[in-house]
């Protein structure tokens, strides 16, 4: 599957809505995540306090980001880690590739990292001829399928069991002919095990960077991060600079929030802190450890007043609860980061000109903000991006015309009432048995669902009639 482009958002949405099973497939995962999150939070009366604490940890670190970055660098260097800095995605990718080339790496294993996707590392590795092995089961599935991820926690949620059966039979050395999910997982276990043990370099992301010890931290349920990182001679971490927290004690409240918000579990099975290369005489571990600290638009977010977005811990709760995401799925956004958080992030990682349409893919119902574990005001940030997009004239001419026409009408109440009563008459003319199946200028709506017939009078007509009836009665 070819990755969609963010600038083709409207077409991507049309394509997604035309897929008959997509909505069912998405909801199978997101509805379960929603229910499990609600249960986890009901079992944790201190959740609201934890949210406030988590937000404070992130805000504090962002406020003193230069201090903590310098601390992290000092302590990581003391552990023997080699630190690299990258302003852009291209620079970050190039640093990783150069390390791979220096070590003449033929095979690299990777544990799931959204930042790795953001900097285009998969493509860069594929283009360089180095064998790339994705070790997270979902990433393994989409690597075999050639798909981009469709969710930040469940990147293969758009693939059914039948798809997985076909892929594993085609690509695994010793495939299963059973259709049971447990046998499919065992097939992947057999296939990946030798790759874990024979890779030249292991590449991971980091959920947190601890300033006081220079540690990176991986959080998984599969345990694939440790298997990716430990056997090869070299470990490379790629991490955004916003992953910093002052210490492990500050990561703890965020860990409590992350798992509950992401999967509804209370904690992931594996949380590992990685501190530089192996020590002398250590039984295992890499001999060399590199951390690539990536900006790629993050300092710009700081400068543009979007620092609240830097709190994001990538749990995916906002997309699991988003009515738009649940209809169109992750691929339609045309970005590594879909859903509400993606609609705020993508304009900064790419450009607002390219990704302004996603900021409108929101009903502003506020669910994302309600469930965000670190209280990111996503609707406010989306509104601010819409305003910027308007000011910079990125909106299509038709939108600009419609908004200006509405503004002109709204300032003239009599004319507004006249036009709305004509609108009601016109809509009722298009209606059959209480429903409008198609109507000029409303194709975007009626293509996928019927529109309900409006009342015979406008709101103002009904309001006036009601007021009159009241005064007559009195």
């Amino acid at each position: 599957m070819q990755a969609n482009k963010p600038e083709n958002f409207y077409q991507n949405v049309k394509d997604a809505l035309a897929q008959p099973d997509l909505k069912m497939i998405i909801r199978r995962t997101t509805d379960k995540a929603e229910a499990k999150r609600a249960e986890a939070i009901a079992n944790f009366p201190g959740f609201e306090n934890a949210r406030k604490q988590g937000q404070k940890v992130k805000d504090h670190t962002i406020k003193y980001m230069d201090h903590y970055l310098a601390e992290f660098e000092k302590n990581a260097l003391a552990q023997g880690t080699i630190i690299h800095w990258a302003s852009t995605a291209e620079e970050a990718s190039k640093i990783v590739l150069d390390i791979c080339r220096q070590h003449e790496a033929k095979k690299v294993t990777r544990s799931k990292s959204m930042l790795g996707e953001e900097i285009g590392l998969s493509h860069a590795l594929d283009n360089s001829g180095i064998e790339r092995v994705e070790t997270d089961l979902a990433e393994h599935i989409i690597q075999l399928a050639g798909d981009p991820p469709s969710h930040i926690v469940w990147p293969a949620m758009h693939r059914s069991r039948e798809d997985v059966i076909k892929l594993f039979r085609e690509y695994h050395k010793d495939p299963t002919y059973s259709e049971e999910i447990i046998d499919l997982v065992r097939s992947a276990r057999r296939d990946l095990r030798t790759k874990f043990l024979t890779a030249d370099i292991g590449i991971s992301g980091s959920n947190f960077l601890l300033a006081d010890s220079g540690s990176s931290c991986t959080v998984t349920n599969e345990g694939n991060a440790e298997l990716t990182i430990t056997p090869p001679k070299v470990h490379i971490v790629t991490a955004g600079i916003e992953k910093l927290v002052p210490s492990m004690a500050h990561a703890v409240p965020l860990l409590r929030l992350l798992t509950r918000s992401a999967t509804g579990g209370e904690i992931t099975q594996y949380i590992t802190f990685h501190n530089g290369p192996k020590r002398q005489n250590d039984a295992d571990g890499p001999e060399e450890c590199h951390i690539v600290l990536v900006d790629n638009g993050r300092t710009k977010m700081l400068a543009d007043g979007m620092e609240e977005m830097l709190r994001c811990i990538r749990c995916g709760a906002c997309m699991n609860h988003c009515v738009v995401y649940k209809h169109i799925g992750g691929h339609a956004y045309g970005s590594v980061y879909p859903g509400p958080m993606g609609s705020v992030l993508t304009p900064h990682l790419n450009s607002l000109e390219v990704a302004n349409k996603q900021t409108h893919a929101c009903t502003l119902n506020g669910r994302c903000e309600e469930v965000c574990p670190v209280n990111i005001p996503l609707p406010k940030l989306l509104r601010s991006l819409r305003a910027q997009s308007w000011d910079k004239k990125y909106e299509p001419l038709t939108n600009r015309f419609v908004v200006k026409a509405f503004a002109a009408l709204a300032k003239r109440p009599k004319l507004f009432q006249l036009v709305s009563s004509c609108g009601v008459i016109f809509m009722r003319l298009c209606s059959r048995q209480g429903w409008i199946k198609s109507m000029p200028l409303a194709g975007g709506w009626t293509r996928n669902r019927d529109l309900i017939e409006p009342e015979s009078k406008t709101f103002m007509q009904q309001y006036k009639a009601m007021k009159k009836a009241k005064s007559d009665g009195a």
Binding site: Q53, R161, D212, S213, Y270, F273, A283
Partner: protein, 227 residues
């Protein structure tokens, strides 16, 4: 060349941060005090334990099925461990083979005919390790990498037994983080600190939970009461 480019990016990142937040204080004491103040809130922002005693709370959590794929038992002293292991092997109809972490107190036990030389690179093996700490809040055992603790021992076997001394079971993750902070201050941080709370699991195919994705499918915690 690369080093120069990296240095330049470093300078750019720092100057962009300074330009975005020009009024921020850089007084280290102020920053540290603010950071400490946030930690003071943890008391009101963490879940209740299932029992007051940490070891009891950890046991109850596992027995309630809240730790994926995990069972637990308490034994009075370390010399009872081979018996526990034998029962475990019998329960899962496994051969008498076990990779024991190479530390003196485990090696010195009477393993009653159990083969302890096992290559964990093979699949379907059983591993036994000694945990540094337990955490009641999350049903966790903690291991630190070192000359006698290969990290892979916790990740390659299909069956894993972890021994936790009762005195090393902490109530909350925060308690472990404070210990880790102390270790960092003394400059003795090991390469890896792993917090393991259950077995290797995945829900990536149709949301169905499968244990033993890459690592252990079954985990058994043995708490030693006199240690």
């Amino acid at each position: 060349m690369n080093k120069q480019k990296s240095e330049m990016s470093r300078a750019n990142i720092f100057s962009a941060i300074k330009a975005a937040a020009p009024t921020t204080s850089m007084d280290v004491n102020t920053i540290q005090n603010e950071a400490l103040e946030i930690l003071g809130e943890s008391e009101f922002a963490r879940p209740a334990l299932l029992a007051e005693d940490a070891a009891e709370a950890l046991t109850l959590r596992i027995e309630a099925g809240l730790v994926i794929g995990t069972s637990c038992e308490k034994i009075a002293s370390l010399d009872q461990l081979p018996d526990s292991v034998n029962q475990f092997l019998a329960k899962y109809a496994l051969p008498a083979e076990l990779k024991v972490q190479e530390i003196e107190r485990l090696k010195a036990l009477n393993w009653q005919g159990i083969t302890t030389e096992v290559d964990i690179k093979n699949d379907n093996t059983v591993g036994l390790c000694w945990a540094e700490y337990g955490i009641a809040e999350t049903g966790t055992f903690v291991v630190h990498s070192g000359p006698d603790m290969p990290i892979l021992l916790n990740f390659l076997p299909l069956y894993l037994l972890a021994v936790i001394p009762k005195s090393k079971i902490l109530p909350y993750m925060d308690d472990y983080a404070l210990i880790a902070g102390e270790i960092a201050r003394k400059g003795g941080t090991p390469r890896n600190m792993c917090l393991i709370s259950g077995v290797s699991g995945t829900t990536d195919i149709e949301g169905v939970l499968i244990q033993g994705a890459h690592g252990p499918e079954v985990l058994h915690i043995v708490i030693i009461e006199d240690q």
